[in-house]
């Protein structure tokens, strides 16, 4: 019995282990682990960091990158008050309509509006960016191998190319981008933004904050998922003990 169980476990383990190993991306450099607060089964978001990350996104990244799945109201979950969210939303002009004359019109944003996209369509985005399409960042942390660690690595991975690497016109060297040539120029520079909480705006800090923010944007359910998961697994462990005791009792006379 023990042997067969072990065998079953081995098969199961083999199946589970084989899958992602099979899918590990080739080509890019190894991505260092930054030990973010949301990692691990008890992980939660560092809200201050995520709020700073939103500031970096809105002052830097949002010039080219849309986040069309996000609404301003979602920022409430990051700890902003209703007034703060309304103020942030009202700073952007969003298109609405058609009105009674059949015309589209601009109005100040409301919390229920989606984040305003920098470009009306992908073609416009390409035209403004030398043919490259800046990806939407709503779920980027789920859409890249390595998630937030990759985002941090990419943002801090700019530098001079090794001598044997030729970089094409309009491209930039990045140690962590697959293929090492990225169309996006170095986006973060020291003191590019000013944080209200006086956190020094180093490239590393900003990269860390924006990676936290993007992870939150991609997985807003993470904290609830973790806390529910712990409770459910504890419940199931107790139930497993009980079920095993019942099973033993019933089988006691069957051998």
């Amino acid at each position: 019995m023990l042997r067969t169980s072990l065998k079953a476990l081995a098969i199961l383990g083999g199946l589970l282990a084989a899958a992602p190993a099979a899918q590990a991306a080739e080509g890019a450099a190894h991505i260092p682990n930054q030990g973010f607060s949301f990692q691990g089964p008890f992980g939660v978001y560092d809200r201050a960091s995520a709020q700073r990350g939103f500031q970096v996104y809105s002052q830097v990244c949002s010039a080219c990158h849309a986040m069309h799945l996000m609404s301003y109201r979602n920022l409430r979950d990051l700890g902003l008050t209703e007034q703060q969210v309304a103020a942030i939303a009202s700073q952007v002009q969003v298109q609405d309509g058609p009105n009674d004359e059949g015309q589209m019109f601009e109005r100040p944003g409301r919390p229920s509006d989606r984040f305003r996209s920098p470009f009306p369509n992908p073609q416009a985005a390409r035209a403004a960016n030398n043919g490259a399409l800046p990806p939407d960042l709503s779920v980027i942390a789920k859409a890249r191998e390595g998630g937030a660690n990759y985002i941090y690595a990419l943002l801090t991975g700019y530098g001079d190319p090794p001598p044997d690497v030729h970089i094409a016109e309009g491209m930039h060297y990045n140690a962590y981008f697959p293929g090492h040539q990225i169309a996006m120029a170095r986006p973060l520079n020291p003191d590019q933004v000013e944080f209200a909480d006086h956190t020094p705006a180093t490239v590393e800090n900003m990269a860390r904050d924006v990676a936290t923010f993007l992870q939150w944007a991609a997985e807003p359910e993470l904290e609830l998922r973790h806390s529910m998961g712990i409770k459910i697994i504890v419940f199931l462990l107790v139930l497993a003990g009980l079920a095993y005791a019942v099973k033993r009792k019933i089988w006691a006379n069957a051998h």
Binding site: T4, S5, I11, L12, A19, A21, I230, A243, K247
Partner: protein, 422 residues
């Protein structure tokens, strides 16, 4: 029985009234209560029940997800993300459904492995086994079409590659592919029909599962010794013995399931499927979901388009004739020392194919896949038919009860196995 009321012995008067007119309670009692079941099942025999529960979980979560999903090429991706963000517990339903597919395949693979190891496919259970293979094929079709629905990059290119498999068939191939697509490429029409069929097929599976169980309850279950029960001393009533044992196994299964859903919901998925489908850009490295990888590896191991497709389909279709390839009268591998080793090697070849399927189509993986695929087929087509003639099995125990409860020296093969001293 020919006319009048059924002679019911259900004590509760209301239930008896129903039972006299439609004896479902008598049937339940007969098939799931007192049903004589071999007393020596090990935990591998839990996996049929687990698969059944898994199917119900998939149908329940799927129905609720369909209330929010939009099967349109321009809205599908965003509607899935809306489920993740805005629908109450939508993330839970979706992660249970997505990981439930993986759990379903884990459970069913172990269930099939169990059937192969203990010879459950042999007479008189050939039809039972073949119905199981039909269920597996339906599962694969359903899972494939379900994976297309989020309309991410992997959805789109998976759909493109898999539907293109049919173009390998001469003459009718192109026609079939256009028919599957409903257009000149994978597009909105394809997404719509996949959604329709993805919703339909699980209910077809329920129907075949019902037949699978009907067939099971005619022949009765196989068991780890592979010998038929000879009398009441060899069996136990299904309830409470196996209901209790299945319940325990079910809780363990839920723990694994919950671990995936709550702490690694995207572990078995692929990041590229969070990129919306783009018909102009193929991802650098496309792979199917992990549960298709062994068959995908066989496809890639063959350098010929039609040959690869035929080998891939053949690798599953060969299961249909397994009862006639393996003519050995001994069911359980416990008593077949050579076949046992050959089968465990087959298991290794399957896992190697799974591993190779996820690797890029380059050396050394192609060569490894070829050897593994060759062994995969050789086991069924050469080794088993041959062993049926030449292998000398170990002596079988006299009866299940004698083997389990003692009462005499046990044959070597069954020794040191105090099964179910739980």
């Amino acid at each position: 029985m020919a006319s009048g009321l059924h002679n019911s012995d259900i004590p509760n008067p209301v239930l008896r009234w129903i039972d006299q007119r439609m004896p479902i309670f008598t049937m339940m009692q007969k098939e799931y209560g007192s049903f004589p079941t071999p007393r020596n099942f090990n935990y591998f025999w839990n996996f049929g029940a687990l698969a059944m529960v898994n199917l119900m979980i998939m149908i329940a979560t799927g129905i609720f997800l369909a209330m929010h999903y939009t099967p349109h090429s321009s809205m599908a991706f965003d509607s899935v993300e809306r489920i993740m963000r805005d629908v109450n517990f939508g993330w839970l339903l979706r992660y249970v459904h997505a990981n439930g597919a993986s759990m379903f395949f884990i459970v069913v693979y172990i269930h099939i492995w169990r059937g192969m190891y203990y010879g459950s496919y042999k007479a008189p259970r050939e039809l039972l086994w073949m119905l199981g293979v039909v269920i597996f094929l339906l599962m694969m079709a359903t899972a494939f079409m379900g994976y297309v629905l989020p309309w991410g990059q992997m959805s789109f290119w998976g759909a493109t590659v898999i539907t293109n498999l049919f173009s390998a068939f001469p003459l009718v191939g192109e026609w079939i592919v256009t028919l599957l697509w409903g257009g000149f490429s994978v597009d909105n029409a394809t997404l719509n029909r996949f959604f329709s069929l993805h919703y339909l097929l699980p209910f077809v599976i329920v129907g075949v599962v019902f037949l699978h169980i009907v067939a099971l309850h005619i022949t009765g279950s196989n068991n780890p010794l592979g010998i038929e029960p000879k009398g009441p001393q060899d069996t136990l009533p299904f309830h409470p013995y196996y209901t209790a044992k299945d319940s325990f196994g079910l809780v363990i299964y839920f723990i694994v399931f919950a671990g995936l859903v709550f702490f690694a919901p995207n572990y078995l998925g692929h990041p590229d499927n969070y990129i919306p489908a783009d018909p102009l850009v193929t991802p650098a490295h496309i792979v199917p979901e992990w549960y298709f990888l062994p068959f995908y590896a066989i496809l890639r191991a063959v350098p010929d388009k039609l040959g690869g497709v035929l080998m891939m389909f053949g690798s599953i279709l060969v299961w249909f004739v397994l009862p006639w390839l393996d003519r050995s009268p001994v069911r359980s591998m416990r008593f077949r020392p050579i076949a046992r080793i050959c089968f465990l090697l087959w298991t290794v070849s399957f896992l190697v194919l799974l591993w190779c399927g996820g690797k890029p189509a380059e050396e050394p993986y192609v060569t490894i896949s070829r050897f593994a695929a060759a062994y995969y087929f050789a086991y069924f087509l050469v080794i088993l038919p041959l062993l049926s003639r030449i292998e000398k099995p170990l002596p079988l125990p006299e009866s299940i009860s004698r083997a389990v409860l003692g009462g005499g020296p046990l044959p070597a093969g069954a020794a040191a196995k105090p099964m179910e001293k739980a």
